[in-house]
Structures are given as C-alpha cells and as structure tokens.
Amino acid sequence: MLEAERTRVFESWIDAHKAILFKVARVYGATHSDREDLFQEIALQVWHSVESYRGDCTASTWIYRVALNTALAWRRKERRHSHGRQDIDAATALLIAPSARDPRLEWIYERIAELDEGNRALALLMLDGFSYREMSQILGLGESNIGMKINRIKATLAAKLAKEVHDEL
C-alpha cells in the first residue's frame, strides 16, 4: 500500500471513528493524561494496522478490535509511554473537548469504568449498538455467552441507576 493511500485511509478512519478511540481511552484510562496517552497509542496502532485491514469486517469493528487490544497491552506498558510527544508543548493537547457536554455522560463513563476489563468492552459495544455477532468477532466469545454477559451488565447498570434515583430522593 502506498504511503499516500495509507494516510488517506487513516485520516478517513479518524474522521469517522474518533469517537471509538475516545470511548476506549475514556473507560480504560484512569486520569486525563492517561486517556490522552492511550488515545495516542490507539491512534498509532490504528495507523500501523491500516495495511493489515482486508475488509472482511466493517471499519468500526476493526478499529474497536485494535483499540481494545491496545488498551489491553497499554496497561502492561503504562508509565513507560511518552511516545515522542515529550518534545511537544504540554498545552498542545491531542483531545479537544466539545463546548457542551451532557453531565449524564460522565456518570455513564464512571459506571462503565467500574466494571471489570472484559465487561467494560462489552458495555461499550452494547451502548454503541453492535450486534452479538459483531461483538463475538471483536471479543472472540460465543454469542450465547455474550447474551448472558450483556444481561448481567444491563442488570448491574439498572441497579446503579435505581440506587442513584433512590439517593437523589
């Protein structure tokens, strides 16, 4: 693949699917700087993965795979990373926050981050509307197993929602 073609594909993926990168970085990174670092690491791995993509799944499925696998490996390397951005001014952040943000989202992200690592991935995929088949491709689990886990996650989130409502009253 030519360098220009690779860059074109990468940029179109980032334009269309940057939300996936952000969501994974948000639930697997504990602090803002961790999320910036993980977002960058995922972006770099997506860049490396462009040449391996054969089109046998959708781009969003592929990017989720790369992003989740990177988050898994990133934990191993945590803190060793500064990635060549050490020479960039600290004010030059990679992520630019939208002007308005629904406060309910922070609550959802925090609850997802409380789940164990595998269930965090499932919760993200469930909320993003992936089918069981696609989740199976991304996670490597059987569809029936995914169904059971999703029900469990929904129940956990519903219980937390109920507790939240109860506490507010």
């Binding site: 795979r65 990635h83 595998g118 993003d128």
Partner: protein, 215 residues
C-alpha cells in the same frame, strides 16, 4: 435517569475533536522511532553475525595453522573451544529472533486471542527470566572463549607481555570482578522483572477467566 435515557444520552454524545497537528507530530515521531528501531536491530544483527562468524573463521584458521605447524595440541583445543562457543552464540541469536517473530502481533486478533497471545508472551518472558542464568553463562563462555583464543595466539607468537604470569593474573582478577558484578546486577534486575511479569500474568489470567465465565 432510566436505562432508555442513558442510551439516549450515550448516542447523542458529541465526540472530542482531535488536534490534527499534534496527531501528525505523534505519527511522524512514531515513524522515526520505528525506522530507528529497525535500523538498530539490523545493525546489531549484522554486528553479531560479523563478529561471531569472523571469530569462528579466525579460530578455524588457527586450528589449521596449529596442525600444519605441529604446534602443541593445547593450542588446537583452545581454538576449537573458541570456535564452538562463537558458533553457539550466533545460533542462540538466530533462535531468539525466530521466537520473537513467532510472537509478533496480529492486528486482526479478537480480545480473547490477544489476551492469550499476551499471556503466551509473558509466560515466555518468565521462562527467559528463569533461564537467564544460561545467558550469563553464555556471556562468560564468550569471554572465556576470547581469552583462550588470545592466549593461543599469544603463546604461538611468543608475545610474552600479554602471556606473562602477571598479565594473566591481572586479566583473571578483572574478569572475576566483572563476572561478580554482572551476576549481582543481573539477579536484582531479574527479580524486579519477574515480579512485574507475574503481576501481568495474574491480570491476564483473570481477564481470560472472566471472558470465559458464563455468568
């Protein structure tokens, strides 16, 4: 907020934007890093190849000279040992490279496959840490091989300064001091590395167990 409202808030979220200049810089830095790493790897490989093969050929040449000139058998034995040690060193490098390629990453892996691959990698790194004493012995063999070889050359050429008793005592002293330091440092580093790897191993096993579990 109920579950439907939660889904609604999720689907309506505005994603963060990406600073294109910072991302471009990160990609450029990554490309430079990858190219540099590849260049260093190739250089190291060539260096080891040239040194290992060169020393093996040189030792072979000395065996031939020893036999042809009818020198004492000890010279041929010393050269032979050097040759075997250098050949083993080159072989070990190739075996190490082969194993690394086997564990290289595949971007199309599912999370479960990736966790298994990572676990296999950690198991392999742990086995290396357990067998690290052989690496230390291997390095010592290289030093001994080089010493034997230089002794052979010096003796056969009657270079008395280096092969004199005082020269060899000094060499032995420096060699023992370096070996003790390397063993001590290596042991501490291995211990720290092992602790980290075992924590990672537990984490991956837990993740795989959680993924396989039918709740």
């Amino acid at each position: 907020m109920n579950f439907d409202q939660m889904l609604e808030a999720w689907q309506a979220q505005t994603p963060y934007d990406v600073n294109r200049d910072a991302l471009r810089q990160a990609l450029d830095a990554e490309e430079i890093r990858v190219r540099r790493a590849l260049r260093m790897h190739r250089r190291a490989l060539w260096f080891m190849w040239i040194v290992g093969t060169g020393m093996a050929v040189w030792a072979g040449f000395w065996i031939a000279i020893t036999i042809t000139n009818g020198w004492p058998a000890i010279y041929a034995v010393a050269s032979g040992v050097s040759l075997v040690v250098f050949a083993l060193g080159v072989g070990a490098i190739w075996m190490g490279l082969g194993r690394r390629a086997e564990l290289d990453r595949n971007f199309g892996n599912s999370l479960q496959e990736e966790a298994r691959r990572s676990l296999a990698l950690v198991d392999y790194q742990l086995s290396l840490a357990r067998r690290a004493i052989f690496s230390v012995l291997g390095v010592l063999c290289f030093v001994v091989g080089t010493a034997l070889f230089s002794w052979t050359v010096n003796k056969s050429q009657n270079i008395s300064d280096v092969s004199s008793g005082r020269g060899w005592s000094l060499f032995a002293l420096v060699f023992v001091a370096l070996a003790i330091r390397a063993l001590y440092k290596g042991r501490n580093e291995r211990r720290m590395r092992k602790l980290k790897l075992e924590a990672r191993q537990r984490h991956l096993r837990d993740l795989l167990a959680a993924l396989d579990a039918r709740e």
